[in-house]
């Protein structure tokens, strides 16, 4: 019985990871409609939030970090990997903390995740470029992160409510 449960969890996690990879690929094919580095929808976060709320923090960390690693290798480059990782780690940390407090719905959690993802990328850009100049993009990235986060959060809230795993 215990084995069956473990097997089931492993299968579900693998499926979620595969789904995150598909979203990554779709997103890498989408045209960027705002020409500022780091502005994107963050489709994968639907899966990460779903995993976080339905399975737990360690599972969400696994899906997110593996996703960043593999999608950078497949669809991006090593520079993209560092930006994505910084964003993903900061965003995950914030979302896990917020979900523990139970103060916000998935939409609020996702908004925080989106904004923190962009802040993480700016911090990494400051580190790599060695200049605070990239802070110039902070206002736009804050707004973009909030809007994208809210949209993704709505999708994640709907899924978490409706989809049974």
């Amino acid at each position: 019985m215990k084995n069956r449960k473990r097997l089931r969890k492993m299968t579900v996690l693998s499926l979620l990871f595969a789904l995150a990879m598909i979203f990554s690929f779709v997103e890498s094919r989408l045209p960027t409609f705002i020409p500022i580095p780091g502005v994107k929808l963050g489709l994968c976060n639907v899966v990460v939030i779903f995993t976080l709320l339905r399975l737990g923090a360690p599972e969400a960390i696994a899906v997110s970090v593996l996703r960043v690693l593999l999608s950078s290798l497949l669809f991006g480059n090593m520079a993209a990997f560092f930006y994505s990782l910084a964003g993903a780690v900061l965003s995950l940390a914030g979302m896990i903390l917020l979900s523990k407090t139970k103060l916000f719905s998935p939409v609020g959690i996702s908004v925080a995740g989106g904004v923190l993802h962009n802040i993480g990328q700016i911090l990494m850009a400051m580190l790599i470029l060695g200049t605070a100049g990239v802070l110039y993009y902070l206002p736009v990235l804050l707004i973009a992160g909030t809007v994208a986060g809210a949209l993704i959060g709505l999708a994640a809230a709907y899924l978490t409510k409706r989809v049974d795993i």
Partner: protein, 113 residues
């Protein structure tokens, strides 16, 4: 349970609106502090490698031709880039001091001073 859901939605809205406000305020502070610039600086890895006057039109290849800087009618833009995302080409024309175009893949910043 229902009331709890409502307060959570309210908190979400407060979070979203305050973040949007912070973003907008920062945006307008940044815009307000900008004045028309006279020169454009080319910065690679935090070192200014060249400066050009905004007053004379011209085309300047940067980084051994990997990016092309174009100065036209007092504005600067990236005409062509070999980088994978081509975002810098689409960032448009900059003319006010402090405005910048960043090409992350090439560690390149073009900034009005």
């Amino acid at each position: 349970m229902k009331a709890d859901k409502k307060t959570r939605t309210l908190r979400d809205l407060v979070l979203i609106l305050s973040l949007l406000c912070i973003g907008l305020i920062l945006f307008f502070i940044l815009r307000g502090s900008m004045q028309a610039g006279t020169q454009v600086a080319v910065i690679v890895d935090n070192e200014t490698v060249a400066t050009y006057s905004l007053l004379t039109d011209g085309e300047y290849p940067l980084l051994d031709g990997k990016n092309l800087l174009v100065i036209e009618e007092g504005a600067a833009y990236i005409g062509e880039s070999e980088c994978p995302d081509h975002l810098c080409e689409r960032m448009g024309r900059i003319r006010k001091s402090g405005a910048r175009i960043v090409c992350l893949p090439h560690h390149l910043t073009v900034k009005i001073i």
